[in-house]
C-alpha cells in the first residue's frame, strides 16, 4: 500500500472538461467521474433536472502523489474561483497491484 492524496471535485457538468484539461496539462490523466450529481452551494441550486447542463453537477475523483497534486492545485483553485464548486483533499492508502 502506498500513501496518496485523494482529490474530490464537484463542479458544474459544463465545467468538467476544463478540470480534465488542467489534469492533462500536467500528465495527470487518471481519474474517475460520476455524472448526474446534484447539490447546493453558494450559487443557484443544481437540482439535476431540466434540459440544460447548468443544473447538473459532476463528481470527479483522482488519486495522485502529493507532488502531482501541488502541480494542479493553483489552476484548479483559479478555475473554481470562476465557476464555483468544491475541491476536497484527503490522505488515502492505495492498494497497489
Amino acid at each position: 500500500m502506498k500513501p496518496l492524496k485523494k482529490v474530490e471535485i464537484v463542479v458544474g457538468a459544463k465545467e468538467t472538461k476544463q478540470v480534465i484539461e488542467i489534469l492533462e496539462a500536467q500528465n495527470l490523466a487518471k481519474y474517475t467521474i460520476i455524472k448526474n450529481a446534484s447539490g447546493r452551494g453558494d450559487s443557484w441550486e443544481r437540482d439535476g433536472f431540466g434540459l440544460s447542463d447548468v443544473f447538473h453537477n459532476n463528481y470527479l475523483l483522482f488519486a495522485c502523489t502529493e507532488v502531482e497534486f501541488e502541480s494542479v492545485k493553483e489552476p484548479i483553485r483559479i478555475l473554481l474561483e470562476d465557476t464555483g464548486g468544491i475541491c476536497l483533499v484527503s490522505d488515502v492508502m492505495w492498494l497497489n497491484h
Binding site: 459544463k14 450559487s43 443557484w44 441550486e45 433536472f49 434540459l51 440544460s52 447542463d53 470562476d82
Partner: protein, 324 residues
C-alpha cells in the same frame, strides 16, 4: 377577444398535461419524469419537427418571400439582445444583463413545437422554412450577448482568457439543439417523399403523444424553477411577461407588413417572443460564468414559457386573425 380560442387551447391535452405538471409540484407529489427521459422527448421533438420541416421545404423550394421571412427572423435575433442589454444594464450587473438579453434574443424550441401543435389542431398550414428560422435564431444573440458583456465588463475575467471569441462562436453554433434541428432539417430536405412516408408513423403519428409527455415534464420543471425567482424582485417578473407581449405584437405587425401568412406569422411571433433556456445557458456558463443561470433560466422557462403556451399563442393568433 374571442375567448373560445383561449379555452380551446386550455382544453388541449398537451396544455392540460402542462397544467398537470404544475399541479404535481403544488401538491408536492413525488411524480417525476426521471432523467434522461426528458432528453428523449426533447430530442424526439427536435428530430420530428426538423425532419418534417425539411421534407416540406424540399417540396416548396426557397423563394423570395421565404428569404424575406428568414432575414426578418435573423435580424430580430440580432436587434433584440442589443436593445434589451442597454435597458437591463440600468437595473442589473453587466453579466446578467448580457445573459438575459441573449436569452430573449434567442428562441425556445418547445414553445415553437407547442405552437405547431396548436396550428395542427386548427388545420392551419405553416412553411417548412419556419423550422430553418428556429435554427437560425438560436445562436446570433449568444454571440452578441457575450460580445456586449466583454465590451462593458472591465474586470479581468479569467473566463475571458480561457474562452475566447472562437470558443464562443463554436459553442453558440454547435449547441446540441441547434445541431439536432438543423441536421434533421437537412436530412428531411435530402430524403425524398418515399423516405418521408416511411418515417411518418414515427415523426407524425406519435408526435402529439410525445409532446404531452414532454409538456408534463416542462410543467413540473417550470413550477419548480419559479421558486428561484422568489427574491428576484418585481422588475424581472414583469420583464418576463411584458417582453414577450411586446415582441409578439411587434413581430405580428411586421409580419403583416411583409405579407407573411397566418400560420407563419404565428410561429414567428412565438419565436421572437420566446426566450432560450438551453443554448444560452450552455454557452454563457462557459463564456460568462459570472452570470447567474438561477436567474435568467427561470425567467424564460418558468414565466415566459408558460405565459406563451397558455395565453400567448391564442392571443397572438387572435391578433393575427384580426389584422388579416
Amino acid at each position: 377577444m374571442d375567448q373560445s380560442l383561449i379555452i380551446d387551447n386550455l382544453l388541449n391535452p398537451t396544455i392540460l398535461f402542462f397544467f398537470l405538471g404544475m399541479i404535481v409540484v403544488w401538491i408536492k407529489s413525488d411524480l417525476e419524469i426521471p432523467q434522461p427521459l426528458p432528453r428523449l422527448f426533447s430530442l424526439y421533438l427536435l428530430l420530428a419537427i426538423g425532419f418534417k420541416g425539411g421534407v416540406e421545404l424540399a417540396h416548396t423550394g426557397i423563394d423570395l418571400s421565404i428569404m424575406k421571412t428568414l432575414l426578418f427572423a435573423v435580424i430580430s435575433s440580432i436587434v433584440i439582445p442589443i436593445y434589451l442589454f442597454f435597458i437591463l444594464k440600468k437595473k442589473l450587473d453587466i453579466n446578467n444583463a448580457g445573459a438575459i438579453a441573449a436569452t430573449y434574443g434567442s428562441v425556445s424550441a418547445v414553445t415553437f413545437v407547442t405552437a405547431v401543435a396548436f396550428l395542427q389542431n386548427l388545420e392551419i398550414s405553416y412553411g417548412g422554412h419556419m423550422v430553418a428560422a428556429l435554427a437560425l435564431m438560436e445562436s446570433p444573440s449568444i454571440i452578441i450577448g457575450v460580445f456586449l458583456v466583454r465590451q462593458f465588463d472591465k474586470s479581468e475575467s479569467q473566463a475571458a482568457k480561457r474562452i475566447g471569441v472562437r470558443e464562443t462562436l463554436k459553442e453558440a453554433f454547435t449547441n446540441g439543439s441547434v445541431v439536432m434541428i438543423l441536421g434533421s432539417l437537412i436530412i428531411g430536405i435530402l430524403t425524398g417523399e418515399k423516405g418521408a412516408e416511411a418515417l411518418a408513423p414515427f415523426t407524425n403519428d406519435i408526435f402529439k403523444g410525445m409532446l404531452c409527455f414532454f409538456l408534463l415534464d416542462m410543467g413540473i420543471l417550470a413550477a419548480n424553477r419559479v421558486r428561484a425567482l422568489k427574491n428576484a424582485g418585481p422588475f424581472l417578473i414583469i420583464f418576463s411577461i411584458l417582453v414577450p407581449i411586446i415582441h409578439g405584437v411587434l413581430s405580428i405587425l411586421i409580419s403583416m407588413a411583409l405579407d407573411i401568412s397566418e400560420g407563419n406569422a404565428l410561429l414567428l411571433a412565438v419565436l421572437i417572443s420566446s426566450g432560450s433556456y438551453i443554448a444560452v445557458p450552455a454557452a454563457f456558463r462557459l463564456a460568462v460564468p459570472k452570470a447567474n443561470p438561477g436567474l435568467y433560466v427561470p425567467m424564460s422557462l418558468a414565466i415566459t414559457f408558460p405565459f406563451n403556451i397558455i395565453l400567448g399563442i391564442p392571443f397572438y393568433f387572435y391578433l393575427i386573425n384580426q389584422l388579416h
